[in-house]
C-alpha cells in the first residue's frame, strides 16, 4: 500500500526532525510539569481529588497546543510544504503522518506527566488512562489540521488556540467524565465517537487546507 508507505515515510521524517532539533518535546515536558506544580498552588486546601483530575485535562490540552504550534514549523521554513503538496502522493497522507507524530509526542509527554500527577495529586485509574488515549487521538487529528490552517495565516501563533479550544471542549468533557464519574464507559464511548467523526472529516478535508 503506497499510501501507508507515504504516511510512514512522513511520520518517520517528523520523528527524525525532532530527534535532531530536540526542541518541541523537552518544551512540552517542562511545560506540563510546571503546570502541574502551578496547580498545587491554584487548588484551595479543601478541593477534592476530582478537582485536580479535572485540571489535569487543562494541562494536557495546553501542552498539546504547545506541541501543535510547532507541528508545521519545519515545513513553513524553506517552503517545504509546497514540496510535499506537489508530490503525487495523496495530500491526506501529509495529515496522517503529521498527526501520528503529534500523537507520539503527546504520548511521550504524558508518560512523564502522568506519574508526576500521581505523585503530586493521587491515583490515576484505568478509565482515566483510556480516556487520555482516546482524547490524544482526537487532539492529534483535529489539532494537526488546524495547525496547518494556522500555518497558512498571518497570525499563526494567535490563531491556533482560538481555532482549537472550541473543538477541544467535547474532548475535555469526555476525558473529565471518564476520569471522575462512576460511569466512564459512556464518556469513553463519546470520545470514540468524536475521534471517528472528526478523524474522517480531517482526513477528507486536509486536501483543501493545503491547496488552492
Amino acid at each position: 500500500m503506497m499510501y501507508l508507505a507515504d504516511v510512514g515515510a512522513l511520520a518517520r521524517k517528523d520523528l527524525r526532525l525532532e530527534l535532531r532539533a530536540r526542541d518541541t518535546l523537552p518544551a512540552m515536558l517542562l511545560f506540563v510539569l510546571s503546570t502541574l506544580v502551578v496547580f498545587h498552588f491554584v487548588l484551595p486546601g479543601d478541593s477534592s481529588e476530582l478537582a485536580a483530575k479535572g485540571l489535569l485535562w487543562v494541562a494536557i490540552v495546553f501542552t498539546a497546543l504547545l506541541g501543535l504550534s510547532r507541528a508545521f514549523a519545519a515545513e513553513r521554513e524553506q517552503g517545504v510544504i509546497d514540496g510535499l503538496v506537489l508530490a503525487p502522493s495523496d495530500r491526506s497522507a501529509i495529515w496522517l503522518g503529521k498527526a501520528l507524530s503529534v500523537l507520539a509526542f503527546l504520548a511521550l509527554a504524558e508518560v512523564v506527566a502522568l506519574p508526576a500527577f500521581a505523585l503530586f495529586f493521587g491515583g490515576i485509574g484505568g478509565p482515566m488512562i483510556a480516556g487520555i488515549v482516546l482524547a490524544d487521538i482526537g487532539i492529534a487529528s483535529v489539532g494537526t489540521l488546524l495547525a496547518a490552517m494556522a500555518a497558512a495565516s498571518r497570525a499563526r501563533e494567535l490563531l491556533l488556540p482560538l481555532l482549537f479550544l472550541p473543538l477541544a471542549i467535547p474532548i475535555i468533557v469526555g476525558g473529565v467524565g471518564a476520569s471522575v464519574t462512576s460511569d466512564p464507559a459512556r464518556y469513553l464511548g463519546f470520545l470514540g465517537l468524536y475521534d471517528a467523526l472528526f478523524a474522517i472529516i480531517c482526513w477528507a478535508s486536509f486536501e483543501y487546507v493545503v491547496t488552492e
Binding site: M2, D6, R20, A74, Q78, L84, L86, A87, P88
Partner: protein, 216 residues
C-alpha cells in the same frame, strides 16, 4: 512542421522536431490575490521540448506564473492547461524546499519515496555526484552554503526525471562551477523535457530558449 535548434555548446547536431501536443496552454491567464492583480492576460504555448524564458523586473509576477504552471495555485481568470500530472512536474522555487535538519541523502530519500522514483538510491547517488554534493551527502542541509543548497534543490527538482521543469531563478546563489553544472544539465535535458524558466539574467540561457515571455 519542424523547428531547428542547436545545442548551446555548439557540439550537438541540428535537430528537427515536430510539435504534437502542447505541454502547457495558457490563454488570458490572470491571477489576483484579493485586490492585488499580479498577472494580467498572460498567454503562451509550450511544446513537449520547448523552453520558455520568462523575464521581467521584481514584482512582475514571474514567481506567481511559475507557481501556476507547477500547480501550486489556480488562475483567477483565463485558461491554463498543464498536461503532465503532478508527479511528472519538477519545481524549483526561491526557497530550497528541503528540511534543514535532515541530510541531503535523507531529504532526497524522502522525496524519492513520495515521487515513487524507481531505483531510488542509484538515482540519488547519481544526481548528488553530478552536482558535486556526493561528499557532503551525510551532512545536514543547514550546514550547506547557499550554492550547495541551490544544487541540492536542483537535485530535488530533477530526481523524478520530470517531463516539465518549472525553474524559478535556477542560477541564483550558484558559483561559476555550479552554474556550469546547471548549464550541462539543462543542455542534456532540453530534448526530452519542457522548461519554464524565470530569470533576472537572461543572457546566460537565451540560447536555450524557444520562446520568451516578458512580464511587465
Amino acid at each position: 512542421m519542424g523547428r531547428r535548434r542547436r545545442s548551446c555548446t555548439g557540439y550537438g547536431p541540428l535537430v528537427l522536431r515536430d510539435y504534437s501536443g502542447m505541454v502547457i496552454r495558457a490563454r488570458g491567464v490572470e491571477k489576483r490575490y484579493g485586490d492585488k492583480r499580479v498577472l494580467r492576460g498572460v498567454g503562451f504555448d509550450l511544446a513537449r521540448d520547448g523552453f520558455l524564458l520568462v523575464t521581467g523586473p521584481n514584482g512582475s509576477g514571474k514567481t506567481t506564473l511559475l507557481r501556476l504552471c507547477a500547480g501550486l495555485a489556480i488562475p483567477t481568470a483565463g485558461e491554463l492547461d498543464v498536461t503532465p500530472e503532478r508527479g511528472r512536474i519538477g519545481y524549483l522555487a526561491h526557497e530550497s524546499l528541503v528540511y534543514r535538519e535532515l541530510t541531503a541523502l535523507e531529504n532526497l530519500d524522502l522525496y524519492g519515496r513520495l515521487y515513487r522514483v524507481a531505483e531510488r538510491r542509484e538515482r540519488i547517488g547519481m544526481l548528488l555526484e553530478r552536482f558535486g554534493l556526493w561528499d557532503a551527502r551525510h551532512e545536514r542541509a543547514d550546514s550547506y552554503s547557499r550554492g550547495m543548497l541551490q544544487r541540492l534543490a536542483l537535485c530535488r527538482a530533477l530526481l523524478h526525471d520530470p517531463e516539465l521543469l518549472v525553474l524559478d531563478e535556477p542560477y541564483s546563489g550558484l558559483d561559476e562551477e555550479g552554474a556550469l553544472l546547471l548549464d550541462r544539465e539543462l543542455d542534456e535535458r532540453r530534448p526530452s523535457s519542457a522548461f519554464v524558466v524565470a530569470t533576472h539574467d537572461p543572457a546566460r540561457i537565451e540560447l536555450f530558449a524557444t520562446s520568451k515571455l516578458a512580464l511587465a
